[in-house]
């Protein structure tokens, strides 16, 4: 284990930034989101980011290809794949697990080359959660905020930041900056982990009825009458899907430029009216159907297709950010019968 005085953190940021792009939580007008580091950036590692870390590998908007006309030919240019290493720093345990969930979608079976390139070149430096919030419920999914995983795990305690390489990639990364670190035992970190464990035990949402959900629960849940009342509260905005680290739907669109056509993709949301719109129309014409899709996907369809794993990591962003406080916890408690 290595450590670095918190007062020297900026020198680490600058050293990384000299070698490769560095993304980390930056505060801008009161809102903390992952952003690209530049000297003097207002880094804030204490607050949960509003958007998740997902953009690092699956950005909200990305160019896929360009079409140009040259004489009688149409030239197709492939969008550029990321080819240089970059670092995403200060990622919490829930978001790290979310990367794994995105991997199962974008890397297994059908291979998404854009995602794959980013994943290959991205180095994930995670950070433990010293003060989980009341909206956090990651422990339901076997995630431990005191052991955030990733390529390198980090911890802040006692005026120091501690670093512990987890993967080969992480160890190689640490080696590049070895001169900045001091060697350390893991005593302070162990103490911190015990403290975090105590807090997690006190979190109010740590006991969700997960047994009522899963890949085999389609028939039991699909036509439940409670969807009506739950969906009536929802204003169908899409905030929950855009702040969610595991939401993975995107839309592919063509855009006419002065010289040809640009094809890009951007995040989509099952809460939107034109979600999966096809030539014949949409197969989810009602608000209830679209609302149900989000929760059935996280709690039934995803586990059915990916070894029983739920595609919610309990980060609580949708809990904190829904304009009308409707969220997956309320859906689970209502349908799971402990409300």
């Amino acid at each position: 284990m290595k450590k670095l005085a918190l007062s020297n953190l900026n020198s680490l940021y600058n050293a990384i930034n000299d070698k490769m792009k560095l993304y980390l939580p930056i505060e801008n007008n009161g809102a903390v989101n992952f952003g690209e580091y530049s000297d003097g950036a207002n880094v804030n590692l204490n607050k949960m980011t509003i958007k998740s870390a997902k953009d690092a590998f699956f950005p909200q908007c990305e160019d896929l290809s360009n079409f140009k006309k040259e004489g009688k030919h149409i030239i197709v240019e492939q969008g550029e794949l990321v080819s240089e290493n970059f670092v995403i720093f200060g990622v919490r345990a829930c978001d790290v697990r979310a990367f794994h969930i995105l991997d199962t979608v974008f890397l297994e079976g059908y291979l998404d080359t854009f995602y794959e390139a980013r994943r290959k070149h991205g180095i994930v430096i995670s950070l433990s959660c010293n003060k989980p919030e009341e909206s956090c419920f990651c422990s339901n999914f076997g995630i431990d905020p005191a052991e955030p995983k990733g390529d390198v795990e980090s911890y802040i305690t006692d005026g120091y930041m501690y670093f512990n390489p987890v993967t080969q990639k992480g160890a190689e990364f640490m080696a590049q900056f070895d001169s900045l670190f001091e060697n350390s035992d893991d005593k302070a970190v162990k103490e911190l982990q015990v403290k975090i464990g105590d807090i997690v035990g006190k979190l109010p949402l740590s006991n969700l009825p997960l047994n009522e959900f899963g890949g085999d629960k389609l028939d039991a849940l699909f036509n439940r009458p409670e969807w009506q009342g739950l969906s009536e509260s929802c204003i169908g905005c899409g905030t929950c899907t855009y702040v969610c680290p595991t939401c993975q739907c995107y839309d592919v669109k063509d855009y006419k430029t002065n010289t040809g056509v640009k094809r890009f993709r951007c995040w989509d949301s099952c809460m939107r009216k034109d979600f999966t719109m096809m030539a014949h129309g949409t197969n989810r014409p009602s608000h209830l159907q679209r609302f149900r899709q989000r929760f059935m996907h996280k709690l039934v369809y995803h586990p059915a297709n990916h070894n029983g794993e739920f595609s919610c990591v309990g980060c609580g962003r949708c809990v904190a950010k829904c304009p009308v406080s409707m969220n997956i916890v309320k859906v689970m408690k209502t349908l799971g019968g402990n409300k």
Binding site: K131, E133, G229, I235, C237, W267, K273, P323, S325
Partner: protein
């Protein structure tokens, strides 16, 4: 507040029982004291879980838009500021007044949980509202905060305690202590140079994730298909691909609600990125006041807004260059 909740519940139960209404649009309790959810209660479901507390800041009037073709009768709870939106919706024929029974509720301001959290409180398990201050219990210990400092921004520039439309009134209200005068923020922006103003909005709007919460919550945004959802409109978009698009969405929305926006404050309240959207709308309101005389959208039903009401004394278009773009 608890007394008010009881009174409301009793009265609503009567209205359901005697058949005055079939449904109630109110709030249902959440996991915490502050995450109450707007909900529709029916005669069959009863008022189980009904709640009314300091966190019922959401404006329920828009929930009636999707019920316009329903033959059911709805009771709805509206705070003074929400009644402006109701009037505006009636004016625009977006709700069916005949099927709505409005319970106006006296108000003394609602709390913004994000402001509580911004003061460094987390792990919140309970909040006790003592009118002047609030006590917060959290897994990290208890704390006490002055209530005025954590009121919703819309409450900090409260339009007043008068209910502009209602079928009956429950509870007494007071105008919340005004922390900022309504147009102070706009005046600050007007005093900036064009470059400074551009930089301000560029920085704020760069946070926008196009979640559409501001649009979907807005009682003035009731188009069945928004221009930004219409694939044939050429401006439809699900993400801000460029800096230009970041601004376009908001500028167009502000124009579309100009003269109709009641300044209900919902857009700013719901923005997950805390973008001060009310400053855009208030700029329009301030200009309309200056150009056409004081006007408040939703003051009453069926008024004509100055932007669709030509008079000979209307200002000339040259006002824009006369004011040097301010």
């Amino acid at each position: 507040m608890q007394g008010l909740e009881l009174k409301l519940k009793e009265r609503l139960q009567k209205l359901l029982d005697d058949g005055t209404v079939d449904c109630v649009i109110g709030w249902t309790k959440g996991e915490f004291i502050y995450d109450v959810t707007p909900a529709i209660f029916t005669k069959e479901s009863g008022l189980d879980g009904f709640v009314y507390n300091s966190f019922c800041g959401a404006n329920l009037s828009k929930y009636l838009v999707s019920q316009i073709t329903s033959d059911k009768k709805f009771a709805v709870i509206l705070k003074p500021c929400d009644t402006y939106s109701m009037n505006q919706l009636i004016t625009e024929h977006r709700v069916n007044r005949e099927n709505i029974y409005i319970i106006g509720v006296g108000c003394s301001g609602h709390i913004d949980i994000d402001k509580v959290k911004a003061q460094g409180v987390s792990g919140i398990t309970n909040v006790i509202d003592n009118d002047n201050n609030i006590i917060i219990n959290s897994i990290y210990g208890d704390s006490k905060i002055e209530k005025a400092s954590v009121l919703l921004s819309k409450c900090q520039s409260c339009k007043g305690s008068e209910l502009k439309i209602s079928d009956e009134i429950i509870g007494e209200g007071i105008k919340t202590p005004t922390c900022d005068e309504r147009f102070d923020g706009v005046k600050k922006l007007e005093a900036m140079t064009a470059e400074e103003r551009f930089a301000f909005w560029k920085s704020e709007l760069s946070k926008c994730i196009r979640c559409n919460a501001c649009r979907n919550i807005c009682p003035a945004c009731t188009c069945r298909t928004c221009v930004f959802d219409n694939a044939r409109s050429n401006v439809a978009a699900k993400a801000n691909a460029t800096e230009f698009e970041e601004k376009m969405f908001h500028i167009i929305r502000a124009f579309h609600v100009a003269g109709r926006c009641t300044d209900c404050g919902e857009c700013s309240r719901v923005c997950p990125q805390s973008i001060p959207l009310h400053l855009l709308n208030r700029k329009f309101i301030k200009d309309i006041n200056e150009f056409y005389g004081d006007y408040q959208a939703g003051e009453e039903s069926n008024q004509r807004n100055p932007l669709v009401n030509f008079t000979e004394s209307d200002i000339e278009a040259t006002v824009i260059s006369d004011k040097e773009g301010k």
